[in-house]
Symmetry: C2
Subunit: 211 residues, 2 copies
């Protein structure tokens, strides 16, 4: 296990937002995730065992499960980051417009983080979503958590807008559907060397969904 000592400047002070321990833990998390993603791309999710991932990442199988509850989750790391970015812009929902418009506007704003198609974030998101597209196991794992995520979204929107429960649910579900359609199209239209613009596709999708 190689350790890039980028930030090993102040060993005596926990001045940073994260201690040495937590940084190291985060690093291990990334390494396992990267290893899992690569193996999944190469041999498929079903064809890859946790033991293989653990060994390739240089940890024991027992340790693997201390970082990720399932092998699928190990691959979804960057997708969760993506969803976290989207959820981050939810504090400033515009209460003057319809819930759906407010949600879509917030999503569009958050998506600017992914304007640069050649950025690391974009490339990783692309890899993960390519896998998600062809791996039912990953979709299943995604759906398992989506309950909580969607429920949280419904809660947030409910407290900010005075609408019927059905309308809130519709706004959330439809907004997510539009986003997912855009994401899938983005994956399809992106080749290895050239990625399309996710914000643009999303904008296009919003327009088409209106009609």
């Amino acid at each position: 296990m190689t350790r890039p000592e980028v930030f090993s400047v102040s060993p005596d002070l926990p001045a940073g937002p994260l201690g040495l321990r937590e940084r190291r833990r985060e690093q291990t998390n990334v390494e396992i995730s990267e290893t899992a993603l690569t193996l999944f791309e190469y041999k498929g999710v079903e064809g890859t065992t946790v033991g293989e991932i653990a060994q390739a990442a240089g940890v024991s199988q027992r340790t693997f499960f201390r970082y990720f509850a399932t092998k699928e989750e190990a691959a979804l790391r960057d997708h969760w980051a993506f969803e976290a970015v989207l959820a981050g812009g939810l504090d400033q929902l515009d209460a003057e417009v319809s819930p759906r418009l407010a949600l879509e506007t917030a999503f569009a704003a958050a998506l600017t983080m992914y304007s640069d198609s050649s950025s690391i974030a974009c490339r990783r998101l692309l890899r993960v979503n390519r896998l998600i597209k062809k791996e039912p196991a990953l979709r299943a794992e995604l759906a398992r958590e989506s309950v909580r995520r969607t429920a949280a979204l419904v809660d947030v929107v409910s407290t900010r807008f005075d609408c019927a429960d059905l309308q809130v649910r519709l706004a959330v579900d439809v907004s997510i559907a539009v986003l997912r359609a855009a994401l899938e199209t983005w994956v399809d239209q992106s080749s290895i060397d050239e990625a399309a613009s996710l914000p643009e596709i999303y904008s296009l999708a919003r327009g088409l969904a209106q009609a």
Copy 2:
């Protein structure tokens, strides 16, 4: 031996649409499914082992897995029936209107099969979806198959409508989202003794989704 084929073509066979064997097989399928559903309602999915379901249904564990690939699938039987009903009306999609309108109209037409809230079909659908709501494992299993289902829908719509790929995807994803929001609201609004009207809620949802 063979997987439960819904449309089993039995060429030059006895008068009955199904042979004795297949009828018995179907019966066993129903019994296991009912047993699983009941146990899941009582002890939760995680808290129920396949061995328990099998024993309660009067078959061996090995036989259970000849009927259902996973224990979750055993509970989803009636939900698949519901989706089959929805898919049944897809042959007559109105090509004169937008894909989404055509899909929603077809769904609305198919939903008339579930107008009678006290029917067996409705009660079973209600039980299953109540479970789906609180069981991430069932949502995950649902999502695992939804890939295939959605892809098939996209295919059907694509061949009938001359639209951009993105628009087809949007029509499918949004239509399903509206349907699911209606389904969830239906579950929430239905008590044990009194069930709301699913077609009405869906109609309401379509209206709200327009705005």
